[in-house]
């Protein structure tokens, strides 16, 4: 009797399995006996499991996106003569949309973004207002490392603003105000005298021109004609400056309608290029880029790096598959979400993709 029970338990525990050999990747981490080789260490993540594997996939997807050329695709029947020309097809690459939240620009990721705009490695940028001003302010005065646990009331009395474990002194914003108000005055003048109709992206380009500093990603975005969209422009220190400016010198108009035409146009007019989205964080930048890509029936590549969860139904936490249901990402697209703080994942991602490519492009 016991024999039968044991045999049945044995069968349950040691149930015969399908073989995964050759079908799935073996899990294997980095062997430090080969020394500390960072490139190989990062490559080993693909086979390490959990978010390391997602990160490894993100590297693969971004590289695929960067390597794609129109010449990889069969010639479509309705192509124009120009589109059929092989040299032309070799030159057509993916259009890269990069989105990120403001906190990342307060952090050191700003310098990674600067590298990408300096070398025109992305085509469109979407961010929130802090993503604009923090970059400009860093050219006027630095941000410092603090601690998450610093007490708020004490910081307030010392004139220090906390962003996570970073500190930005009030003085920095005063310098920003002193720098930007004359620029707004000049812009208002141009609006009246030269009939310029300002939009958030035009304003941002102007600020990139005015800051004239190689450490600013906006400076390079201006130089390389990379549009930076920020439909929520009033929600930050920049907005405060616009508010105060409107009392002293009222009348500056900023048109968001023109910008939504431009942003969606970037997606709609992208074809025959493929489009790819690299989105750090959630919120407005994430949705704005996905929504624009919906206008062209979905992006072809999508890499999300954020720490948000989907259980509350938020758009920030939504996985790429949710965007597929909306038509914001194509069903055939290569996508991945890396659940990780972008301050860790993004510089490492760029190291294994954009930055290592540029050595070849030299």
């Amino acid at each position: 009797m016991d024999d039968k029970l044991i045999k049945s338990a044995h069968t349950a525990v040691f149930k015969g399995s399908d073989s995964l050999e050759g079908i799935c990747t073996r899990i294997e981490g980095y062997d430090f006996n080969q020394g500390v080789n960072y490139s190989r260490l990062l490559k080993s993540m693909l086979s390490s499991g959990f978010q390391a594997s997602n990160f490894g996939e993100a590297i693969e997807i971004v590289n695929e996106m960067l390597n794609w050329r129109l010449s990889d695709e069969p010639i479509a029947e309705d192509s124009s003569e120009e589109e059929k020309d092989p040299t032309y097809r070799e030159s057509v690459r993916s259009k890269v949309f990069l989105g990120f939240t403001s906190n990342l620009i307060s952090s050191g990721v700003r310098d990674t973004v600067r590298y990408l705009t300096e070398h025109h490695m992305v085509d469109v940028i979407v961010t929130t207002t802090g993503g604009i001003e923090e970059d400009l302010i860093k050219c006027l005065a630095p941000t410092y490392k603090g601690d998450f646990s610093l007490p708020g009331a004490q910081l307030r009395s010392r004139g220090l603003n906390r962003i996570g474990n970073l500190l930005v002194p009030n003085d920095n914003y005063c310098k920003f105000e002193d720098w930007i108000i004359p620029i707004f005055d000049q812009m208002l003048k141009e609006q009246h005298e030269e009939n310029v109709l300002w939009t958030p992206s035009k304003l941002i380009a102007r600020l990139g021109r005015e800051i004239n500093n190689g450490s600013s990603y906006l400076y390079w975005a201006y130089k390389n004609n990379i549009p930076v969209f920020c439909p929520g422009l009033t929600d930050g220190s920049l907005g405060d400056m616009l508010y105060f400016h409107s009392f002293r010198s009222p009348g500056l108009i900023i048109d968001v309608v023109q910008d939504i035409r431009a942003m969606n146009g970037e997606a709609v007019r992208a074809s025959p290029r493929k489009t790819g989205m690299i989105i750090l964080g959630g919120g407005l930048p994430k949705h704005h880029i996905c929504n624009a890509n919906m206008m062209r029936n979905g992006a072809d590549y999508a890499v999300y790096i954020n720490t948000a969860q989907e259980y509350d139904g938020s758009d920030s936490g939504a996985r790429p598959d949710e965007a597929v249901s909306w038509g914001k990402i194509r069903g055939s697209a290569k996508t991945v979400k890396v659940h990780c703080d972008a301050t860790i994942a993004f510089p490492l991602l760029v190291a294994e993709t954009f930055a290592s490519k540029s050595k070849n492009l030299a």
Partner: protein, 159 residues
């Protein structure tokens, strides 16, 4: 907090400046301030400390002393604002003309005829009725930034 100065308003007011600068952070409620080129009495002041919005700022709500309109301004507290010189002068009311001007007796014995009746209904009624009844009336004229207006009325006659 008005200047109770009894000096003679000459037509050619050039030479005397109409405003003087004062640091925004020192202007208090019930003081005077120039907003959008209008002389105003400060109805409300609130200060926001230095922060993400830049320098500390004073938010002024002022009432135009002549038109009673509400005007707002926000100024960094370290900046200078214009404060109007506001003068009140009393004159005896001699006559009211048909086209709405008043004739006033100045201290030197001259007449001042260039002032209109006030637009404020209450005051207007008081002046018209008082004058019609033959009362001895003294009007207070408020002047600032080249504008003048009757702002108050006193009955100095015997009861």
């Amino acid at each position: 907090m008005s200047d109770e100065e009894h000096h003679f308003e000459s037509k050619a007011d050039a030479g005397a400046s109409k405003t003087y600068p004062q640091q925004a952070g020192t202007i208090r409620k019930n003081g005077y301030i120039v907003i959008k080129n209008r002389p105003c009495k400060v109805f409300e002041v609130s200060t926001s400390k230095t922060g993400k919005h830049g320098h500390a700022k004073c938010h002024f709500v002022g009432i135009d002393i002549f038109t009673a309109k509400k005007l707002e301004d926000i100024v960094p507290s370290s900046h200078n604002c214009d404060v109007p010189h506001v003068n009140r002068t009393d004159y005896q009311l001699i006559d009211i003309s048909e086209d709405g001007f008043v004739s006033l007796l100045t201290e030197s014995g001259d007449t001042k005829d260039d002032l209109r009746l006030p637009t404020d209904e209450n005051l207007l009624k008081q002046i018209k009725d008082g004058f019609a009844e033959g009362k001895d009336l003294v009007v207070s004229v408020m002047s600032a930034m080249g504008e003048e207006q009757i702002c108050a009325l006193k009955d100095i006659g015997p009861k």
